[in-house]
C-alpha cells in the first residue's frame, strides 16, 4: 500500500469555516429578521396590487396602470434615468480622469469638493436651481432681465429636472471611476508606451478597457438610483406637470383617500424593469471585484497636461461651482432673506426664519428629534444584524450563506419607492400593524440600509485573515468570544465609517419618509419638504442649510478619524 500525501490547498478562512459549528438558532434568527423586513414587504407588494382597500380581489388597479397616463409616467421615468446618467457619468468620469490620471494642479482639492458634493442629496440641487432659474422670481432671471431684456431660464422643464439630478448624481460616478483609475497597474501602460503607443492610444486600448467595468457599474447604479430619486421630480417635475414613478406614487399615497394598492400595482409593473437592471448589475459587479483588488500602492502614470491644464482647472472649477458652491450659497442666502428673491442687502437680512424653525410650530423640533431617534436606532439595528450577516457571508460557503447574502442585498436592487410601498402594505395590514408610528419608518430604513452596512463590513472582514480566528479557536475560544475580542477590535474603523455612512444616509433620506410619515413622525428632511409645499421658502432653506452643515460635519469627522488611523477612504 502506497502512502499518499494529502495537501490541503484550501485557504485558512475556508478551513476555519468548515470547522466552525454552524450556529443554527443564530442563523434562523438572522434569516427571520431579514425575511420579515425584506421578503414580507415584497410579498405584500405582490398580493396588495391585486386587492382593493377593503381586501377584495381585483384587477382594476392593473387595468388602470395600463392607461396612457401611467404608461407615460413609466416612460418618463426611464427617459429621466437615461438622460440623467448620460450626463452624470461622463461628468463624473471626466473629472475622475483629471483627478486620478493627470498632473492638474489642485486635483486634491477637486476630489475633496466633489466628495462633499456627494453628501448633498439631489433635493438640495433641485431647490437651489429652482431659486436660481424659476421663470417668475428666479434670481438669475432677475439679474439678466435688466441686462439682456429676457428671462431665458425656466427650470420647470424636463431638461431642468435632468440637469438638477445630474449634478446630484455625478459625484457617485466620480468616486467609482476615480477608484478604478487609481487601481490600474501602471506597468501595463509602461509596456504599451515602451512599445511606441501614443498617449491617446494607451488611454483607449489599455486604460479604458480596464475601467469599463467601473463605468458600467456607475451607469447601472446610477440608473437604479434615479429611478428612486424624489427631490427633483417633486420640486421641479410636479409644477412642470412631468410625473415620474417616485412623484406619482407620492401623489397617489398622499391623496385623500390614499391609493396604496394602486401604487403597489404601479410599483410591481415597474419592478419588472428594475429586475432587468438587477440582472445587469449582478453580471457586472462580479467583474468589478477583479479590478479594485489589484493596484494597491501603485503610483499611477500621470498624463502631463501642459497648456491644457488651465482648461482643465477652469472646467473643474465650473463643475464644482455649479454642483456645490453656488447651490450652498443660494440656500444660505434664501434662508436669511426677508423676501426670498429680494437679493443681497442689509435690509433684506433676517434670522427670523432660523428662530421660527427653532421656536415656531414645533415641527422642526419634532423633525430633529425623530431624525436623531431614527438614525441612531437604524444604526444600532443595522450593525447588530449586519455584523453577524457579514461574518456569515464572508466566512461560510454553504447554501445558507448564499441565501442570506441574497436576501440581505436584495433591497440594493429594488428602487426605494417600490420597496417603501411594500413596507406600507405589509405593516398596515394585520398581523403586524405599525402604521403611523416611527417603527414603520425604522423597519423601512433597516431593510433599505442593511446592505449598505453589510457591504463594507464584508469587505473589511475579507481583509482579515481567518488564521487569527483559527488561532483563537485552537486555544478554546467560542465563536461569540472570538467575535467580540478578536474580530471586532480589528473592525473598529470599518464599523466607525459604516456607522457614519448609515447615519448620513438616514439623515438625507427623503423618498421613504415622504411616503411613510404621518403628523408627528416626520423627519427634518420631510419638514423641509412640508414647508416647501406650503410655500414657506425661507423656512425650507433654513432647514436644508442646517442639514447640509450637520451632514458635512459628520462626514468630515469620519474622514478625519479615518485618515488618522491610516485607513485609506
Amino acid at each position: 500500500m502506497t502512502e499518499t500525501a494529502i495537501t490541503d490547498t484550501r485557504s485558512s478562512a475556508t478551513r476555519f469555516a468548515a470547522q466552525m459549528p454552524r450556529s443554527l438558532p443564530g442563523y434562523i434568527l438572522l434569516f427571520a429578521i431579514l425575511a420579515g423586513t425584506v421578503l414580507y414587504p415584497m410579498y405584500w407588494l405582490a398580493i396588495g396590487s391585486f386587492r382593493t382597500e377593503w381586501g377584495d380581489w381585483t384587477l382594476e388597479h392593473y387595468r388602470e396602470v395600463f392607461t396612457p397616463f401611467y404608461l407615460q409616467v413609466m416612460a418618463n421615468t426611464m427617459l429621466y434615468a437615461a438622460a440623467t446618467v448620460a450626463i452624470a457619468v461622463p461628468l463624473g468620469g471626466s473629472l475622475a480622469w483629471l483627478v486620478a490620471r493627470t498632473d492638474m494642479p489642485g486635483r486634491g482639492v477637486v476630489k475633496a469638493l466633489v466628495t462633499i458634493t456627494f453628501v448633498m442629496p439631489p433635493l438640495f440641487h433641485a431647490l437651489a436651481f429652482v431659486f436660481l432659474f424659476q421663470p417668475q422670481a428666479g434670481i438669475v432671471n432677475n439679474l439678466l432681465e435688466p441686462v439682456i431684456g429676457l428671462r431665458p431660464f425656466n427650470i420647470f422643464s424636463f431638461e431642468g429636472m435632468v440637469i438638477a439630478t445630474a449634478f446630484g448624481l455625478f459625484p457617485q460616478a466620480f468616486l467609482l471611476i476615480e477608484a478604478a483609475l487609481r487601481g490600474v497597474d501602471p506597468s501595463l501602460e509602461e509596456a504599451a508606451s515602451a512599445s511606441g503607443a501614443s498617449q491617446l492610444r494607451i488611454l483607449r486600448t489599455v486604460v479604458l478597457p480596464l475601467v469599463t467595468p467601473a463605468i458600467l457599474t456607475s451607469v447601472v447604479l446610477g440608473l437604479i438610483e434615479v429611478l428612486a430619486v424624489f427631490g427633483p421630480p417633486a420640486v421641479i417635475g410636479v409644477p412642470a406637470k412631468i410625473f415620474v414613478m417616485s412623484s406619482q406614487v407620492y401623489i397617489e399615497l398622499t391623496s385623500a383617500p390614499p391609493r396604496i394598492e394602486f401604487s403597489a400595482a404601479l410599483a410591481v409593473l415597474f419592478l419588472q424593469i428594475a429586475i432587468l437592471l438587477l440582472v445587469l448589475q449582478e453580471v457586472l459587479l462580479r467583474r468589478r471585484s477583479y479590478v479594485t483588488i489589484i493596484g494597491k500602492g501603485f503610483r499611477p502614470r500621470l498624463t502631463r497636461l501642459r497648456g491644457w491644464r488651465w482648461c482643465a482647472i477652469g472646467y473643474c472649477t465650473l463643475i464644482v461651482l455649479i454642483g456645490l458652491v453656488i447651490p450652498t450659497l443660494i440656500l444660505m442666502l434664501v434662508s436669511v432673506s426677508k423676501v426670498w428673491a429680494g437679493g443681497l442687502s442689509f435690509d433684506n437680512f433676517t434670522l427670523q426664519y432660523y428662530l421660527e424653525a427653532i421656536r415656531g410650530d414645533a415641527r422642526a423640533a419634532t423633525g430633529l428629534t425623530n431624525t436623531l431617534l431614527l438614525a441612531f436606532a437604524t444604526l444600532a439595528a443595522t450593525l447588530a444584524v449586519g455584523l453577524p450577516v457579514a461574518w456569515i457571508v464572508t466566512r461560510q460557503r454553504g447554501l445558507g450563506a448564499k441565501v442570506l447574502r441574497f436576501v440581505a442585498f436584495l433591497p440594493f436592487s429594488i428602487p426605494a419607492v417600490i420597496f417603501t410601498v411594500g413596507v406600507i402594505l405589509a405593516f398596515i395590514n394585520p398581523p403586524v400593524v405599525l402604521y403611523g408610528t416611527l417603527a414603520i419608518i425604522l423597519v423601512c430604513y433597516f431593510g433599505r440600509f442593511l446592505p449598505l452596512a453589510v457591504q463594507p463590513l464584508s469587505d473589511s472582514l475579507r481583509q482579515i485573515d481567518g488564521s487569527l480566528e483559527e488561532a483563537a479557536r485552537v486555544v478554546g475560544s467560542g465563536s461569540v468570544r472570538t467575535m467580540i475580542w478578536i474580530v471586532m477590535p480589528l473592525l473598529k474603523f470599518a464599523v466607525f465609517s459604516t456607522s457614519v455612512m448609515i447615519f448620513v444616509a438616514c439623515v438625507r433620506e427623503i423618498v421613504s419618509i415622504a411616503l411613510l410619515y404621518s403628523p408627528g413622525t416626520e423627519t427634518l428632511m420631510m419638514t423641509a419638504m412640508i414647508y416647501w409645499e406650503e410655500g414657506q421658502i425661507q423656512l425650507t432653506a433654513a432647514i436644508v442649510v442646517f442639514i447640509l452643515f450637520a451632514v458635512a460635519v459628520f462626514y468630515g469627522i469620519s474622514r478625519l478619524v479615518g485618515s488618522r488611523s491610516g485607513i485609506r477612504g
Partner: protein
C-alpha cells in the same frame, strides 16, 4: 331709557331666547355617571391647536374625564380611520370630519354609531344626518381672497363665475380636491354653481392648483398669484396675524360644515355621548367665532372680519350626489387641471 327699563328689556329678551329657540342644554345625570365611570375618551378632530387645550381642560374640570386627542386635517383623520378599520383596531371614540360624505362610506362598514344629540334638537334638519350618524357643530364658507397690491377692490371678482374671465389668466390659485376634505366639498360646490365649463375655463386660465389651502393662500400672500379661493377659518387666521389680504364674499358662496360622530366600536361610548352633547353647549359653541369658525347657532356670533351667515347667499352641496360622484369628480378634475 332708564336703567330699570334697560334691565327689564334685557330680562325679557333673555327669557324670550330661552323660550323661543335658543339651545337648551340638558345632560342627564345618568349619562354623566356612566361617562365618568368610563373615565376617558379618544377624540380625533380638526379643531385648531389653540383651542384644543382649552376644550380638554374644560371638559376634564367639569366632568373629570380625560380626553386624548389626535389632531389632523380632515383628510388625515379620514385616512387614519380607514386604516384603523382595515387593521380592525379603531381607537377613536368621537370623530370630527369636514366631509360628511366620508361618514357615509364608514357607515357602509357599520363603523358609526347613530346618536341623536339632545342638545342639537333645535338645529335645522339640514345640519343633521337623517339617520343620526352625524351632527354639524361648526360651519365654514369659501371666500375669494386677493392680493391688494395687485388687485383693487373694484377689479376683484365678485363671484366664482368671474374667475373664468380670461383677464385672470396666470393670476389664479385654487386648492385640489385630491388632498383635502373641505377642498373636495368646495370643488363639488363650484361644480354645482358653475359646472365643468367653469373648471375648463379655470384650466384655460392656467390656475395654480395647490395641494391644500396653505399653498393657494400663500401664492396670493407672496404675490405669485393675484386671486384665490380660501377656507374661511384660514383666511381669518391670516388676517389675525396681520396679512393684508383682500376679502370678497361671492354673490353665491359655497358653505360647508364640520360634523361630529361616534364610532360604533367606541371603547367609551357613554363618555363619547357626553362629550358630543357638551360640544353643543353654550360654553363650547360660543368659543368658535373667536377662533375663526361659524357656530351652528347664529346667537353665538361670527368670526371677526367676516359677515354673519344669514347675510350671505349660502350654497350647501348635495351630499348624496357627492357620495356617488366624488371619485369621478376627482378623476375629471385631475385630468383637466393637474395633468
Amino acid at each position: 331709557m332708564t336703567k330699570f327699563r334697560h334691565s327689564i328689556a334685557a330680562t325679557v329678551a333673555l327669557g324670550a331666547t330661552l323660550v323661543l329657540g335658543g339651545p337648551a342644554f340638558s345632560q342627564s345625570a345618568d349619562l354623566i355617571k356612566k361617562a365618568q365611570e368610563e373615565g376617558q375618551l379618544t377624540w380625533y378632530t380638526t379643531t385648531p391647536t389653540s383651542l384644543l387645550e382649552q376644550y380638554t381642560s374644560a371638559f376634564k374640570d367639569k366632568y373629570g374625564i380625560e380626553v386624548t386627542v389626535f389632531r389632523g386635517g380632515g383628510a388625515q383623520i379620514a385616512q387614519k380611520l380607514a386604516l384603523e378599520l382595515r387593521a380592525r383596531k379603531v381607537e377613536a371614540d368621537v370623530v370630527d370630519l369636514s366631509d360628511p360624505s366620508v361618514i357615509h362610506q364608514l357607515n357602509e362598514r357599520k363603523a358609526i354609531a347613530p346618536y341623536e344629540v339632545e342638545n342639537a334638537a333645535s338645529l335645522p334638519e339640514s345640519l343633521k344626518a337623517p339617520d343620526h350618524t352625524w351632527t354639524a357643530y361648526s360651519q365654514h364658507i369659501f371666500p375669494i381672497i386677493y392680493n391688494k397690491d395687485l388687485v383693487s377692490e373694484e377689479e376683484a371678482p365678485k363671484s366664482y363665475a368671474e374667475l373664468a374671465d380670461p383677464k385672470w389668466k396666470d393670476k389664479l390659485a385654487i386648492a385640489s380636491p385630491n388632498y383635502g376634505a373641505t377642498q373636495m366639498i368646495f370643488a363639488k360646490g363650484l361644480l354645482e354653481i358653475g359646472g365643468w365649463e367653469l373648471i375648463d375655463a379655470l384650466a384655460a386660465n392656467n390656475v395654480l392648483v395647490g395641494r391644500g389651502w396653505p399653498e393657494s393662500q400663500n401664492a396670493v400672500v407672496t404675490g405669485e398669484r393675484a386671486v384665490a379661493v380660501d377656507l374661511s377659518i384660514r383666511t381669518f387666521q391670516a388676517l389675525q396675524k396681520g396679512a393684508d389680504l383682500g376679502l370678497v364674499i361671492p354673490e353665491e358662496v359655497v358653505a360647508s360644515y364640520a360634523v361630529a360622530s361616534i364610532m360604533a366600536d367606541a371603547a367609551h361610548p357613554n363618555a363619547a355621548k357626553l362629550f358630543v352633547e357638551w360640544r353643543f353647549s353654550e360654553e363650547v359653541e360660543s368659543t368658535l367665532a373667536s377662533s375663526g369658525s361659524y357656530p351652528v347657532w347664529p346667537e353665538y356670533g361670527h368670526p371677526e372680519g367676516m359677515p354673519a351667515l344669514d347675510s350671505m347667499n349660502l350654497h350647501y352641496v348635495n351630499l348624496d350626489e357627492l357620495v356617488e360622484e366624488h371619485a369621478d369628480i376627482k378623476r375629471r378634475w385631475t385630468n383637466t387641471l393637474e395633468r
